[in-house]
Every structure is written in C-alpha cells, then in structure tokens.
Symmetry: C2
Subunit: 396 residues, 2 copies
C-alpha cells in the first residue's frame, strides 16, 4: 500500500527518533529522573523570556488577520528585513530582505534549496560525521548523497577527499558548522581552504557548486570560538538557519535561508526558493513565529547551562578513560566506543542511558551524546557511564 521508497524508510526509520520514543516509554516505567535520555537535540534550556513576551505582545497588539494570515511565500518583508539587518550588524555582511527566505526550520530550508537546485542524479557531498537526514533530503529530489570519510583525528574537513569526489555531477556540498554530532567548529582556515577547493573545481570542471551551510548551532559556541560566516568566503553559498536551538524553539519550525546576491543567478534562485516553499506544501514559515523571531533577532543566547553540562560530562568521561574531542560548539559529544558501537549502545541502555550510534552519522565506532539536558541528568548518569567504562575495560 505504501510506496517502495517509503517501505525502506519506515524499516530503517531514524534511530534517533526511535530512541526518543523509547526514552518516553522508559521514563513512564522508571520515572523521568531515572532515565538519562541523550538521544535527541531537544534543548532543555527554556526559550528566553523575550520569546513568550513577544508572543503575548503580538497577540495583544497586532491585527489578528495580519498575524495569523498568509503573507508572501518567502515570509513577511519586515521580518526578513529585521533578520538581514541583524546579520549585517553581527557579521559585517550586506543583505536585505530579498536575500532572506523564511522557512519551516532548517530542515524545511534545506529541502527548499535542494528542491530548487537538484536535477535527478545530481550529487550532494556531505562530510562524515553528518546529520543522517541529509541523505533523505537529497533523496527527496532524486539527488545522490556522496560521503567524504571522517577525519577522526580532528573532525575537521577532509578536503583532499572532497577534491577527489567532486565531479561534473556535483551540485552542492553541505557543511554543518558547528557540527552535529562532533561539536567541532570548523576554523576560518578550514573554511578558506574549502572555498579554495570549490572555486578551483568550479573553474576546472566548468560547473557551479553550491556550498550549503547548515547552521542551527551558530550561536552555541564555547571558549570564545568564532564561527566564520560562509557567504564571505565563497560566492555560491546558501545558509540555512533555524531558531530551534538558539531560542529553544525546535517544535515551532522557524528558520530561514540566506541567498546572497553574489550567488550565480541569484534572482532566479530566490524565485525558485519562493516557489519551492509553496509547492512542497510548507506554503510559508509559521506566521506568528516569524513575527516573534523578528522581535528577538538580537536576543542573547544563554549558553552557560550547556557549557556547564559540557564541562562536567567531558571531564568525567575523560576521567573514566573515554576518548573524545572536546566540543566547542552545539550540544553534542561524539565519543569513541570501546568495542562495537551497537554493543555499547545496548549496554548503555541497561544503565538507562540512551545514546545514538555513530552509524546514524556515517561514522561507526562512536556514539553521540546530546547534552542539552538538565545538569542533574548529566550528574545522575555519571555512575552509569563509570560502570560502562568498567564493563568495556577502560577502568578497573
């Protein structure tokens, strides 16, 4: 009854989402405080006060027909102008409302841009480890995901392999900075080299290559690290952003695409993104939330709770003998598993600890720990991690 493609998807459905459902069931059995669910990037830090204040202000003071009504498929012009202005102030860019397309989260944005550019058989390159849904998103438009193998030393970008994998079929390269699942931030040096490779390949092969920068974690950085704004380094860059993590609004599905004027055929691309938003059935990003984020464009993101979690979890895991790069962004830790990752995932579950296997990110031998949970969850999970370290021979 269901389509052949979907049969495959339903069978191999997202491990992350399956764990989220599992976690809810376990919480019902053992009590929520006895289950350490590190499976999903669902922020535990509440939305800043400004968000709920903005919601109430808008509902009380703005015209209901306008606030809840249709607008241009790309979004309200004043909202897009407010976002462009904020980006310009923060990153010394030069955008206006025409460069912004409001989207149903970053996932919606990525689908809109891929729908806009992919012909069947086109290739989209992603660097492992990467958010596994990229494969579905490219597949939605009959694109093929090509994977560059992970640099398991530094978790930066394997640019030599990228260069080898770019062909005349390459239409786009996706980077996710800060990275889910590694928590690594790609340095300006890495980005400059990446841009150089893309420019050279565009010239050599006579093609246009999009750099799609998926940036929902842009503001979640620690240790004073800077995240380069990619449109400044490479002309054919499209940025996908979401307020899911920065404003803790993942359920609201609100984000945007940036399509710079420097992109080839920028006007046509903007028009395509506008149309794709409509025909994919998004129609537009949720209207009230558009108006809310416009009022919160310069709201400070409080990363301190995540930072505290990061320090405790990282310090403890290292102490127990686990191997892991210290993340400088997002709220994920990507930990090397002593032994088979699926055995580790199963063993962790016996301690009521839910983590996601690395194969979900095309990088086996690791697990992802989403530390966007309460400090107590981290603290109370530590004995379990310690036991795991013993079971797998890291500790005596």
């Amino acid at each position: 009854m269901i389509s052949e493609k979907m049969k495959v998807f339903v069978e191999g459905s997202s491990i992350i989402r399956a764990m989220f459902e599992e976690g809810k069931k376990m919480a019902a059995i053992y009590g929520a405080d006895k289950v350490y669910d590190f499976s999903l990037g669902n922020p535990n830090v509440p939305a800043p006060e400004e968000v709920n204040k903005a919601i109430k202000d808008i509902v009380d003071n703005e015209d209901s027909v306008y606030v809840h009504g249709y607008m241009s498929n790309s979004g309200y012009e004043d909202v897009r102008a407010a976002i462009a202005g904020s980006l310009n102030r923060r990153f010394d860019t030069n955008f206006n409302e025409s460069n912004i397309v409001m989207t149903v989260g970053a996932a919606g944005g990525l689908n809109v841009i891929l729908k806009s550019i992919l012909n069947p058989g086109d290739e989209v390159i992603a660097f492992a480890p990467f958010f596994g849904e990229y494969r579905s998103y490219a597949g939605n438009y009959d694109g093929k995901l090509v994977v560059v193998s992970p640099d398991t030393k530094e978790f930066q970008l394997n640019l030599e392999e990228l260069s080898e994998k770019i062909t005349t079929k390459t239409k786009a390269v996706i980077v996710n900075n800060p990275n889910n699942p590694s928590g690594v931030v790609y340095s300006e040096e890495t980005i400059k080299k990446l841009a150089e490779v893309l420019r050279e390949k565009e010239k050599e092969l006579g093609i246009e290559i999009f750099l799609i920068s998926d940036e929902p974690y842009r503001e979640l950085v620690y240790d004073g690290v800077e995240v380069p704004y990619l449109t400044k380094y490479y002309h054919n860059t499209v940025v996908g952003y979401s307020y899911s993590k920065s404003l803790s609004l993942p359920g609201e599905r609100i984000g945007y695409l940036v399509i710079p004027d420097e992109a080839d055929d920028a006007e046509q691309l903007k028009a395509a993104a506008n149309v794709a938003t409509r025909i994919l059935g998004f129609v537009n990003a949720p209207s009230l939330m558009q108006r809310v984020v416009a009022k919160c464009v310069d709201t400070e993101v409080n990363v301190e709770p995540y930072n505290k979690n990061r320090e405790l979890l990282y310090g403890s895991l290292k102490e127990y003998g686990f191997e892991c790069i210290k993340p400088q962004g997002a709220f994920y830790m990507f930990v090397k598993t002593p032994g088979d990752e699926m055995e580790f995932v199963a063993a962790a579950k016996k301690h009521n600890i839910l983590v996601v296997p690395g194969k979900s990110f095309a990088c086996e031998g690791y697990v992802r720990i989403a530390y966007c949970v309460s400090y107590d969850t981290i603290k109370n999970s530590l004995p379990g991690f310690k036991e795991l370290a013993k079971e797998f021979g890291l500790l005596k």
Copy 2:
C-alpha cells in the same frame, strides 16, 4: 543554476500568488480600500477570541520546553486525542490518537500522504475544477495528475469519466469538499456513488485506490447543508484538514491527516506518514499551534460574515447578468466569463478588481472570486462588476 523542473515552475508560477503580490503593490498605489483583491483565500474574519486566549494561557501556564519543543513527528498525543474525540462527537466516527497525524496545514498533509503512497508514474486523479497545486504535489513524488473534466452544469463529480480514467496505475483520487473554486458541496448521494465506483474498480483491477479528501472548508457551509464525512463511506479514505479557514489561521500552517484503521495496511500507512513528516523537512506541525487548536477543537466557526458577503455578491452578479452556481460552501464563487477569461481578468484589473482565471483550476471560461474579504470590499467593488457586465454585453 536552478533545476530544470523548477525553471518550469518559476516561469509558470502560481497565478494566484502572483495576483496576491500584485494586489499588495496596487494597494500601495491606489490605497487598500480602492483595490478589490479577490485573488487569495486569506480569511478576512479574524481568528475567534478563543485562539488568542488559548495562546496566552498556554504561554503563561505550560512548560516552555514542552510547548516549544520537539514531540513525536506525528504530533503531541494529547492533541491528537482531543481532535479524534471531537471528530467522533461530531461525525459519529471511531478514531483515536493513532489515527491522527498533525501536519503543516492541509498542503503539508497532502504532501505527506502522497510521499507515503506514490511510486514514480503512479496516477492521482482530480476532478476539475480543482486547486491547481494538486499538480505540483503529485509531481513532487513523480506522480502524474489525471484530470476528470468538469461537470459545468452542477459542478458535482463526473463519475462516468472517473470510471473510465481509473487504470492499474491509479493510486489515489482527490476530492475537495466543499470545493475550491466552485463553492459546491458534494452531496451524500454523490459521495455514495463515488465510493461505489472506487470499490468496484478496486475489485475489478485488483488494486488499492486511496480516496484523499481535502477538507479545509468543512465548517464553512451555508443554508444548513451537510458535508458527509468520507471515511464512513469508503474504507481507503484519508482526510486532510486544516485550521487555515475555519479558525482563520492560514499563516500558522496547522492541520492534520486522518488515517482510519479501516484503510488497508493502516499501521504501515500511519508509520509512513510519521516518517514522511520528518524526512520532507516538516519534522512536526508547529508545536504551540498544535496545543492551541486542541483547546479550540469545539470552537464554533462564525460563517455569518462570509454568508453576508455571499448573498450580496451572488445577488448582485446575477442581477448584472453573470452566470454562476450559488456556492453552498467555502468562500469562493466560480463565475462564467462572458468571452475569453484572460480578457475578462485584464478588464477587471482596470477596475482594480483582482480575480483568478479558471485555467488555474483546469476549467477555462471562468474566474474565481474569493469573497473572504470585508463586506465593504464587496460593496465597493460592485460598480466595477456592473461596468464589466456592460463592457462584456451582459447589461445595457
């Protein structure tokens, strides 16, 4: 730079949406009260008070992390249970939360179900006149839209032609009840006959055919007309609903799918819809709005303003000599054009009247008038319509 498919879409972009943009520009030039924009189904009636009250109640009293966070891709279970309960009370059905998938409006829902069921080359049958986006939605999944020609006498369903057009490639039949653009409500008699044709064809050809019922206008009916609930007449029915029109929330993108247990492979279909919601990039229907509609499931829809508009517009157009079926649902009137429809559309624009040509609905020789505008807009547009009647020889 953009894909070949999108080039076609961008060039032939929705006339309705182009008019909406045009209307905004004209309003800026002539003043909003001098432009009679009947192009878009954007309700002029504000959302019921309960909606904004519910928004504030939730924001004030519910946990922010829960309200704005991720939930199961199919939506909050309590929200889905509330909707199932309301449907059962109103239509004597027997749904529970597992039968409901929350969606990003009806457009999102239609994409989710088509993604779930279509193999490339599968055919989806629609009855002209129909909402033109159906063609894009089927095309998104490499399906082919097959059109049953309009019954221009009554604007009911041409079931003889349907029967001829069903083949082994047919996967789904879409009906839109009440209909956009005709405003006609398909009677129980029509629906019974439709179900009979589908059952016979399923048996004859040994296939399964989905009946997709697109019902955003279900509550917008006049003259005491009843809209049959289609799951009660045919087993493989999937209902797509949206609160866009009933609660005047088109910008918020909130709706749901109903997948009844009577459908073949219902469990697999529910699972597919859940996965499709995620991989298409919707992820989930906007979270706050899910909780809002759950609080408003039994809110009475005030159709009186539309009814007043309907009576004035219909009465006046008939008086001027126009031909039109009196709509009993939705907020559209589908008027036969005296002469070429594009000439009529252009002539109307000279009177600052924006209407949509019938070819957008696969039914030439008509224009659609969306009367979800203010009463004054209708009243003030009448001299323009009268002039048009004169110009086209209907009046002396």
